[in-house]
Amino acid sequence: MTVAQRIEATRAFLAVTTLIGAAVVFVAVRGLQPNFGGVLPAAAALASVWVCRGVFVRRDVVLWLESRLPELRYSLVALHEDPKSRFRPALEARALATDVRRVVALAGLRLVGVPAAILAVTQFAVLPFLARSDAADGSRTVGHDARRGAASGRDAFSAIIKPPSYTRIAIDTIDDPTAIAALVGSEIRFIGAHTDRVTMPRRPTVLRFGAGASERLVALEPRADSSPHVVLSLPARDTVLPNASGVLTLSASARDDYGIASGWFEMIVSSGDGESFKFRDAIIARTAANGARDFQLSASIRLDTLGLRPGDIVHLRAVARDANPASDAESGNSETRTLRVYRRGESDSVEIEALPPPEVGKSELSQRMLIIMTEKLVTQSRSLARNAFVTESRSIGTEQTRLRKRVGQIIFTRLTGEEADEDAVEAMADTLSPADALLKAASDATGAGAANPLEPAEGDSPVIAVNRPLLEAFNAMWEAERRLGISEPRQALPYMRSALAAIQRARAAERVYLRGRPPKIVLDIVRIRLSGKKDGINPGERSPRASAVAALLERHARFSSALQLLANDSASAAIDSLTLLRVEALTDQPAFASALSTAVNDLRSGRDATLSLGAARRALVGLPQRGSNSRWRGQ
């Protein structure tokens, strides 16, 4: 390292430690004086940098080193002032021979250590002392307006409210608080006679400080951060497009109370009709808003790139999210616009009468239902009597047999194009393994040899390939049926599940639904009235419904009790009662809560609260109304 490099390194080190020290000063002063925001701490930090400004100047650093290390004998200064001196080799040798590390390290330690000590003293000595003195002399000594306001006496205390940082709202202080309205998540620090630290909850609540006669109540009234208001201006309305081509312009605006973090467009494309729909979704033009309160969002889409087909519907909306980091913070959404691609012939309709369901005797339980029944039987195996267990297992096995035969018929029909002969399938199954029997039937029907039953073979006809999963299902059902027949439902389950999986693979076939205008149905209520089967009607007990009137009456009684306390000269107890009532009413009777707030403030400040209490009563029970049985008929 040359002499010049050593000087530069020293200067950089001292500069960095000075800046760190300034940051610590900023934190220390901010803790001491929170209600000034960042102005005073920033000034203190700048002052500390100004005091040490020499560390940023090369010449000052050289002189400082010379003053600290006499053994340098002005070699650094000489080199700094005349780098081309003819004595340069000797000067450099002396400068390099001197160890500056200890001096520089000590200086760095001092530059950081002193501010750190100030921070420690403020946190652990000054602030607690100020809090104690607050309690002792009844005056708030922390904060700019320490000696201002109504706080006085031994119970005086203050609340310092720090809103969530994303809102960029300044810290606020309330003296002698009875109610604090702030954003959810705000940090609230109480200092003075009562010290505490809380975070503004999501629901209104009451804090209690002290006990007995000196108990103080503070109502916490959370204010929710509203989600951004988003308006989609383009496309302006829902549209039917003759064909999916051209450029679609999107435009939206968003506004938020504290600032928007980002915005984007959401698109869902739905394809299909009837009972069969497919969906694609996409996010378009996600843009950072960097905390702007008003935000414009725009984008364009080339419709031909979306691969839209006739009948497809594009659902579009704009979305904006504010900077609230809470996981459950709602984003703001615009209304949704839909663009539909016209389908030729969509105005046509065909009226089709629905087919009745199959006869009960011919319906089969589904494989999934059989699995559920078997699983239930397995779980009940210990509690059921042996005979009942065997009977139920065989019963499920019988249902499994019926389903297997139905699958066999389907396979046969799909292979041959003819209705299956149930007896023929059964007869073949008696002599061959089930899959082999069916493949043999298929082979006989189609003339193609049934070589390897379930292994895919090259040259399989599409019909065989499509039916292969059903053949697997048939085979698995056969084995499950055998296990159920010998009362081994647990062992049957894997085969039943294999059968279900195979059926699911087989249902790749397209589902076709015929849909038309529903038939006009005339109900004859008198004829069908109570004609349903009564089996299973067994109504449970009806739980009483909570009476809204009762809750209102209870609230009214409490309000009257609080007024009675006032009449008995127990103003403090009345204020506490009204405060509690107010917090409870915040969610469901905001008008009543607001009127109570005015009344409580009047009472606390010693003003006449007659009018405000009257307003609260009207908000609670409404305006007086003339009763029908009243004798008074005044005009």
Binding site: S270, S366, R368, Q504, L523
Partner: protein, 216 residues
């Protein structure tokens, strides 16, 4: 009976139960056209409630929704309420109405489920699983295992799941929004006369829902 009429044309008196199908702008609200008449038929078959033979279709964007205590909402496509629809649904629920929402897709990964649950949460509050011993399952008929399974569940359509629970939004302990992923829309959308082919009428649970909505 005449075909379903729109809400403002409803000729019914306020003392009769009228099945009201919710019409919303963003999707195929009419995807299960026979549910209304089928459930109306069932209410008449199993209860002595006064019931109108004419179900109605009522636009969520209209304040007419407040004339009916029970609304049925279904579809396959995204559910995104307009401001007016959202305000009316909120007022409907606040005033004690009962909204029954069924996912005709039977797919919890589908857009109906995602968008409908988002809208309901935003409009009416948090939605949660309804316990299978809830009063809803014993209002008239007993369903000790909770909501009855549907053919679409057992056959593996949609999300290929048998849903164990329905979901609901409650106010003061009462269900005000009932949400189903079980596809009762498909299960119940058939001509009421075809009930005679069934060993057990599969609309009985629907009757329970209506009786609950009207009496609890």
């Amino acid at each position: 009976m005449n075909p379903p009429v729109t809400g403002h044309q409803s000729p019914v008196t306020s003392s009769e139960f009228v099945w009201a199908t919710a019409q919303y702008e963003s999707g195929d609200w009419d995807s299960a056209p026979l549910v209304a008449i089928n459930l109306t038929d069932s209410v008449a078959r199993y209860t002595s409630l006064r019931v109108s033979a004419s179900p109605v279709i009522v636009s969520l964007g209209s304040s007419d929704v407040l004339r009916y205590p029970f609304l049925f909402l279904t579809g396959h496509l995204p559910v995104r309420f307009t401001e007016a629809e959202r305000a009316n649904v909120r007022a409907f629920v606040d005033r004690g109405g009962f909204l029954f929402v069924d996912d005709h897709n039977h797919d919890i990964d589908g857009v109906f489920h995602k968008t409908a649950t988002e809208e309901l949460r935003r409009t009416c509050g948090a939605i949660a699983d309804l316990p299978n011993n809830h009063e809803l399952y014993s209002t008239l008929f007993r369903f000790p295992d909770g909501p009855p399974t549907t053919g679409h569940e057992l056959n593996g359509w949609g999300d290929n799941l048998v849903h164990k629970n329905l979901q609901a939004i409650l106010r003061n302990g009462r269900v005000v929004v009932l949400y189903s992923s079980k596809d009762y829309s498909s299960e119940w959308s058939y001509h009421p006369e075809n009930k005679r082919f069934q060993a057990i009428d599969n609309t009985r649970f629907g009757v329970n829902v209506i009786v609950y909505a009207l009496t609890r």
